[in-house]
Point group: C2
Chain length 104, copies 2
Amino acid sequence: MSEIKRQPLTEPVYYILLSLQTPLHGYGIMQNVKELTNGRVNIGAGTLYGAINTLLSKGFIAESDSDFAKKNYIITDLGRDVLRNELYRLRELVENGERILEGR
Amino acid sequence: MSEIKRQPLTEPVYYILLSLQTPLHGYGIMQNVKELTNGRVNIGAGTLYGAINTLLSKGFIAESDSDFAKKNYIITDLGRDVLRNELYRLRELVENGERILEGR
DNA sequence: GCTGATATATCGACTATCGATATATCGTTA
DNA sequence: TAACGATATATCGATAGTCGATATATCAGC
């Protein structure tokens, strides 16, 4: 497994990548994440646009069908690999937590 | 739910709290986390001792039966509440990931 | 025309992480 | 007994991520 594919993701970045299975623009990501988490996760503007630039430069997302007012993004194959690995990592956290806290 | 009980935990802090169900010292935490995660999570010294101080000041852990060479710590009731909430948050991340990535 | 929602972007403050560095003790073994 | 690696605590600086505030502009409805 290459290093780049198994970096832990922060919660905002995880939800940004989950939101980009189909093309979506920045503001739409904000709303989508808020809805997905029933209002719990509110991505700040600074986080969002900073994260988008970082994800673009890492090749985890790409620009897609932007018009003059809205820039749309979509996850790349590399981004999907990273996201799948993150899901494994999260399952490990949950399993360890359940085993230790609930004695399973 | 009070604010302090639902702050997202970072991975190192999560594993530090999981390690302190029984009294343990700093270096023991390092080793325990490495073992729990099959070598994947390696908590740096700076992270560990910085996190211990933060957790002490927040009341999530407390000192317990230290001797001159080893300082032992244990999770508090507040810390256990925080850890349980973190487990709920992680399950939400996993469920959202599975639903969106695997169409469940 | 006014207002609020939509939309992108930058800034500074803050926090956490990490590896490097430092110091000291302990047990083994050459 | 001297040397070594493991144990153990602690600080430092570099880096990166998050957040809220601020700024700017467009768009729809009233």
